[in-house]
Symmetry: D2
Subunit: 496 residues, 4 copies
């Protein structure tokens, strides 16, 4: 049994104490375990980061960026291995993992632009013969705490921008899928990242709490569920840290009667069931405007769902892999049971699915509900599984009210050809990331990722331009040089 | 006795219940009182702001900005009255009030640039035939809670930027100097601000707590002392609000041996004793590098201090007015007593000063301590009065360590001619606002104001570019238009 | 007879020599004449500008901007007089002049943002302990040469941005409508512009040629016809000047079959016939896609045109005033004659129109041609009069090819509801300013104005962000301070 | 004898007709020749670029940027070969070539930021329910014409930014050092650049003139001597092209009496004699302020110059290689002869230097003149060889006047410790690139390169942010969607 440890100050570190099994969700078996750092080990990582900071902050941004150029090469060179590590611990299909990695690499690419992104604003003659300018200085030690569902990508949302801004990082990934991030941290060192600039800690609540309370940690970036995000935000803030904590979602797609229905159906199939619905940007609700559109949509979806192939992620001919744990699979099934009890029409039922050659895998087939209402639990809560709910509205306004009244505000999408509908929707919807005929409107790495309402706690979004502001502290310098006849005389600086 | 009430939805509102006397600190008498809003009154103001929001958010930024153009005119036209209101309730000398107002107007000027400042980033072909752009949408209702020491300026740091970004505001100024802000809010309405966009509430902790807990308030900007700032930040954050809370300071000036000593002395006199030291950017500590510089500095300062004229702020020939309350004057005197007890050398003693024609005013003369050490209370705590402490260091590094070890990190300054000293200092000092031969490095309105360490709680600084980011929520829109032969045929949109 | 002279160094200057009559085109009579500066007078203005430059360049941008705040107030206060001056010399209807002035004021408003717009880019640690930043320094003396058709607005496109960037200006407006710009230059001085910063010269080719050849003039902004624009660009460039020269246009609107036809018709009536078609952004060609749309469009336009009221611009109940000169009116009539000869269908004929109470005014009624083809002279050339040509295309692609093959590329517009059509059109059309359901897509003052192809000679567009780049020269400063033990010792700067 | 041809549409092309010998300046012998394209061959390259444009402009900037990431890898992998090609045809020492290449790679790095750099500005609600945004669209086919002295770097200043902006390029390098650029163009194709996007033409005036006159070429970037730069600018502008043409220089360093003299001397040695003075940023004039400083400086320089080792560039122990041709060597010698005749003091005379093992190489030793005056030819003209002139001034003002009166304004530098001197100098000097204690203030790739006065013809500087503006055309789109009840009804788009 392989035991996955930590990387502190560029060295592999094995702490004593607690460990936890890491499962392959396609087989249901476990061949690895992960160490769960205690407070001392976390503190040691913070110390390593603190020690590396003075030299790293003085390193020109261009040199910091060059580590990212090399990391990009290494990530591309080792893409297959990275995807296998993702698939074996998360379960998603290999080419879905490749998509995840690609998005992660795009954040590394954006980080190469550090010299451009870190420019301050310079005001010549802010006052008479007075200049002023801003510098965006690194914070010091920052922590990143990341979820299981994008084990390669979400860490790459965070630490590359943090380090090119001059910070040193303690990264704590999900203990359910720890291998891929460990490999990538090793690649970062191979790419030339100095020791101590990026430290990896595996762990659970004890590690998290240590990061949230240690006075040396200046900032925390977090992605996970809303209750934990809120806890991280409150605790971190209370201890004087800058925090951005991204939480849950219930992303709606509105299908207008003028939409290209074929395109809408195929987009929704991918957006709802890709990665088994375990994405914070997954579409879990479709709202059809008008009865005719609703009937067409449900017919189209149920037909398309018959073609979805579920099985091990190692086989790229599959569309969907397993869920992350058996407990989570059971929880998703319970949601479906509840939906039926509450009166929704279960048009496609994937609960009973079993995968022949992987009888112990945590599989479940895709499910489609029609006639869902806002009061149902399957509508109110985030399921994080392959369950799509269809609601019916009489107008765009009614459909938008559903979204605006929901607890979450991460992503949303409209399918239409109409310019006015697109503009009205994107203007007035209380959601941070909006797609027009784009089902998964994840912002590109050169924009920033952030939901509204209870999908994000904090002022600034993740990655992109906001990450520069999050990972730096503004300093404003105002400078005047008193006149001493410097222009006239050759001898001015020599005191008599 | 005039009773100062509230302005809600553009109307003068008098709440019942508690009031508090407003004093003229130069005379020690009170001719006005101010109402202290209860929770219901505050809630009414929030309701008015909420109701005004939908129309105001849809108003083009250029039209919102035009209210600021007109407000600037009105502020300039009524400058004398504004300054008198400041002087009569705060005590500062009239032309000091004029300086304050000027800085406030500069924030109004910056707010006129809203159409430029609110531009989002547009990516053509973010992906193949996919465009993406960001919009910075207003938050909704935001609160501003401001201190007594800049009763005209600090509110103008906040609400003009908040409203040109499309928000509606509830403003709670200090209950000690409420008249001037009330007058300015009236001018804002005269300038064309629609009713409900800016609401004024007078009050104390009850009002503050209502603002911090009401779910409809999206954000809070605060300036005050560090303990209250921390409380506001914690409470506001805990209730899901975006908060920026600016607190106390202990601003050091370093005087290098190559400094133009005459310039340093005259700069320090103004920076330490202007506004009676009741400024969060006041210099309260001077660190001389080298014994010769220290001796020169103390000699220069004590000579210059004999010329400082203290008296009523209505007389522009005075340099310093009274402190804000008699209680505060007593507290400052106590600091000076403590300094003497702890062993510092009191070179100039202003404790006994009295002003002939204003025997009941809250006056105190300027004080200078030499040989102060880091352990003394007069060094560790913010005095907020006319007391300047001199410390002596052997090197720039030692002087900088003093600053970097202090609890606060608001402003600082170095006096030198040397380019390397200036650059090393501004690079490595853990302070947000840095002056080089500029004793009060308050950033211009087109930069942002923010301290480091326990001088600011929150991610983003006040006013300037950061205010745009603070008062808006990022929305990213990703748009694709599926191909339907639109270029080829004339009939494309008509269904058969 | 009033004789209109020059303003040099803040003083009214009357040169000797040539003058030219200024007509009221509504009455056909002349009560004013304008002096035509000879080379010496122009040189005197350049000298005044040169002399004012050193102090003005050193004036902080914020102080330069404040002149613009005051100018905005004065322009608003004197709006009625300004509009009357426009109407009496240009002919356009008063409220059309008010629209022109409003657009001019918006450029003054944008110029108030100078402190924000002039910020350079600051790179801390561009190299090891090396900082670098850019400054955008003013050029020196710049010239602005403006046309008759927007006598108030086009000068305000240019000189306010030029002066807030720190330049000094010699402005030569059209000799046909010189009064309004003279009045505005006087207001600028009243607003506090120092003498010599803005100088006004009236004149013709002799003045233009002097500006194009004098070595002290650093840059020229020009708006006029394409042949003159090309000449100005060639001559100015040849003499080492930075030049932006805006020329003619032939702006097409595409009407798609899904357009809201009522809206399209009413938009086109305003865009084609407003200001008698004497606008470089006027729509002079409408391309209907599909025969049904074409028939609807022509029917709608001809019906609407019967309601257009032509008469003196002093009467706001009129829709259209006279053309600028009788010669120009005759030229436009000749174009219509030619169109008939070439075989286009003259659906509405305004050639014979006369205005009862102004028999000598230079009036002409609106004309509509259908079935125009690309080879006709009325299609190829800019008419600059109230003549709208309709072409018929079978597809969007065909309609776009017409535009892309035309000599000019100033503005264009599409009427549609379809998102894909709007995006494809705006992406691929070879035109600088594109409207989607916006017939006159003149960029707001916070964007920049510039056509493509032979509508603009030069690299940078007029006003908005490009104006900052045009009116400044980039300077990049790279700074390093060699280490000399400054941090360690107190005595470092004193040589032994 | 190797014959170096062209690369058109990704293919090696050998034109018939004229060729020219390519020399190894260290040996004086020639083993390669280069083809000189006739007009037809150039036209063929322009055709290839035109054909590649439509697909390339539609390629997302991120994908265009990814070619640059790969090119960076290839340039680093083949660095040794690249440097050998530079050294064998230009003569500079290998590690000087490596420095050149490094600077070139930095431009490739900057080009990877294309998705960030090409963002337009988006104005939500520019007017009521009207949005407006700018796009920076590629120009089409652009030409780059580059000099011999940085055969690897200067092309990399130009075409990478041009192509990531979406343009297709015809590149004409110097015919004296054609091999390295050919190799790099091959690497660009290996990196994935599509055929036709970058085309290489070798040639002389015939090729240049074809590029300057062909209507399909939209823009020209040029670096060379001032007379040719002016010709390129005039001719290109006359044919409707956007042109930036960088010319000659005479870069002064001012040495203040408070400068660290040791640092100044060692900096000047490198800046004056590196690359044999054949750099447009070389320091060719040192102005000492005060007689003491001058004496120290001349003594220091002449001592240091005795240690300069001249010889073949293949040997990294040499400091200086040969000049580019024997004719140029003779021309530089003639300058030195003239300096002696005109009365300057030739302190160090390198005219007679010969290199033992390379008797036919175009070598010349470093020369130092003292007591040079402004009227001498060695001061007025650009020598482009290893000759440093020292002038003596009594004050900073006098030294600055020398610079401001000179024809050129490319680079300059001051050596001082004094903040005021540095600021006054950088503010008032009429030079585009300014160093403070930095002898070669070449802007980093994330800033832009451009001289003032007759060192640059055109509005925009080379590379960096200005390159984005130069290689794109601004398009402004204004969009409104007319209301048609889209929010209320489900059926809105279906006509009855």
């Amino acid at each position: 049994m392989t035991v996955i440890g930590h990387i502190i100050n560029g060295e592999q570190v094995n702490s004593h104490g607690r460990t936890q099994a890491v499962f392959n969700p396609a087989t249901g078996s476990s061949e690895r375990s992960v160490q769960l750092a205690d407070a001392d080990t976390v503190s040691q990582a913070i110390s390593a980061a603190s020690a590396a900071f003075p030299a790293w902050r003085n390193t020109p941004p261009l040199k910091r960026a060059r580590v990212m150029y090399r990391l990009k090469e290494l990530l591309e060179r080792h893409a297959d291995k990275i995807c296998e590590l993702v698939t074996d611990e998360h379960g998603k299909v290999l080419n879905d993992a490749m998509g995840e990695l690609q998005r992660g690499i795009e954040n590394v690419e954006y980080a190469t632009a550090a010299p451009e992104l870190l420019k301050g604003e310079h005001s010549k003659n802010a006052g008479p013969a007075i200049d002023a300018w801003s510098e965006f200085q690194p914070l010091g030690v920052v922590a990143a705490i990341t979820p299981f569902n994008f084990p390669a990508m979400v860490p790459l949302w965070m630490w590359p921008m943090a380090v090119v801004c001059g910070n040193c990082v303690v990264l704590k990934p999900s203990e359910r899928a720890p291998s891929v991030v460990k490999f990538i941290v090793e690649l970062a060192h191979e790419a030339g990242l100095p020791k101590g600039v990026l430290n990896l800690i595996n762990g659970d609540k004890e590690a998290v709490d240590t990061l949230l309370t240690d006075q040396r940690v200046q900032a925390v970036s977090f992605v996970g569920s809303t209750p934990i995000a809120e806890y991280v935000y409150q605790e971190g803030s209370r201890h004087g840290k800058r925090v951005q904590a991204l939480g849950g979602a219930k992303n709606h797609a509105i299908v207008m009667p003028d939409a290209d229905m074929e395109n809408a159906v195929s987009s929704l199939i991918g957006a709802a069931f890709g990665s088994c619905g375990e994405r914070c940007m997954a579409i879990s609700v479709a709202v059809a405007v008008g009865g005719a559109a609703a009937d067409q949509l449900v017919a189209g979806l149920s037909a398309a769902m018959t073609k979805i192939k579920t099985g091990t992620g190692r086989d790229n001919s599959n569309d969907m892999g397993p869920l992350i744990t058996s407990a989570h699979r059971d929880k998703v099934r319970q949601f479906v049971d509840d939906g039926v009890s509450e009166g929704a029409t279960l048009v496609v039922d994937g609960r009973a699915l079993s995968v022949a050659d992987h009888p112990d895998g945590f599989f479940m087939g895709p499910c489609l509900f029609d006639h869902v209402t806002p009061s149902m639990r399957i509508y109110r809560e985030e399921i994080f599984g392959p369950v799509l709910c269809v609601l019916r509205a009489e107008s765009l306004e009614e459909a938008m009210n559903l979204i605006n009244d929901h607890e979450f505000g991460n992503g949303t999408c409209i399918f239409t050809r109409d310019g006015e509908a697109a503009r009205y929707f994107s203007d007035h919807i209380l959601v941070g990331m909006v797609g027009v005929n784009v089902p998964l409107p994840v912002p590109m790495a050169f924009h920033s990722f952030g939901g509204w309402k209870r999908s994000l706690f904090g002022d600034l979004s993740a990655y992109g331009p906001d990450a520069v502001r999050f990972y730096t502290r503004r300093k404003t310098i105002t400078q005047r040089w008193p006149s001493s006849g410097v222009r006239e005389g050759a001898q001015f600086t020599f005191p008599s």
